[in-house]
């Protein structure tokens, strides 16, 4: 069966299936829909073991990389700055 799905929603579904322990969130275009979907999934249940810290910058999100080994991170397409 074929299903029509927005690319970001498909990414979010796959991320959820990977059962991450931490999703450090700094939504910014063009990955906003991914983080939005994941935040809903975490809130609605089904990802009980997952922390969802909301962070003030992509650099702070990077610090989670240093402290965790099960982290999902999306950056904006033009890359990290600052």
């Amino acid at each position: 069966m074929r299903v029509q799905i927005e690319g970001s929603q498909a990414v979010a579904q796959v991320v959820a299936l990977c059962k991450p322990e931490v999703i450090a969130a700094y939504p910014i275009s063009p990955q906003t829909h991914i983080v939005e979907r994941l935040s809903r999934k975490v809130k609605q249940g089904g990802m009980e073991c997952c922390q969802f810290p909301t962070e003030p910058s992509q650099v702070v999100v990077m610090t989670w990389h240093a402290g965790t080994n099960q982290l999902r991170s999306h950056e904006q397409s033009r890359g990290l700055r600052g």
Partner: protein, 200 residues
């Protein structure tokens, strides 16, 4: 393959229009894709979104540079952006405007298009009859179905109900149907270059 380019301004639902078009064509059993150009995102800034529809899998991920159909949600862009760049010979043009085609001062473009492939109609005004915000995208997609015959009106309605469950989806589907009926009737009654001054 059909390539569609949609022009408008931030906040007018341009990106959503491309997505709804792809959803409708998918319901019709086609392969589709839709995506916006990635640029500054703010209300009022010129926005472009793209849609491709084909009978087989689509490999290209490039922006649409030679569209078969051009949808213009905001007629104030007509003389500000190179809207008609790359428009295919025999292509279709759909413009949201309460003005006649003559008043829009695009004679040079009109002369290159086939008879019956151009339509200007007040989509924003039409939508205000169904919803409080004058978003032109829903009526334009209904008009797209009538003008090109590429997608079914029922699929446009189901895409809107899927994307906006509840009364908003129903109202959008109704606005699309009204635009479809309006354009289809006008095409039947007056084949040739189509232009309308008013929605009612």
């Amino acid at each position: 393959m059909w390539q569609i380019r949609i022009h408008g301004r931030g906040g007018q639902g341009v990106v959503t229009a491309a997505e709804l078009l792809a959803m409708a064509a998918f319901t019709d059993g086609k392969y589709t894709q839709a995506f916006p150009s990635f640029g500054s995102e703010r209300m009022g800034a010129p926005v472009t979104a793209f849609c491709r529809i084909d009978e087989r899998a689509i490999r290209s991920r490039e922006a649409v540079t030679s569209p078969d159909v051009l949808i213009v949600q905001d007629a104030t862009l007509l003389h500000q952006v190179d809207l008609f760049g790359g428009l295919a010979r025999g292509g279709f043009v759909l413009i949201n405007s309460a003005q006649t085609l003559g008043a829009l001062r695009i004679e040079d473009v009109l002369s290159t298009l086939s008879v019956g492939h151009v339509c200007a109609f007040p989509a924003s005004d039409l939508r205000l009859k169904y919803l409080k915000r004058p978003m032109a995208n829903a009526p334009l997609l209904g008009a797209f179905a009538a003008l090109t015959g590429l997608i079914r009106l029922a699929s446009v309605g189901s895409a809107m109900r899927e994307k906006f469950p509840g009364p908003v989806g129903d109202a959008n589907a109704a606005a699309a149907r009204a635009a479809y009926d309006y354009v289809a009737a006008s095409v039947a009654e007056q084949p040739g270059v189509i232009h309308y001054a008013r929605a009612d």
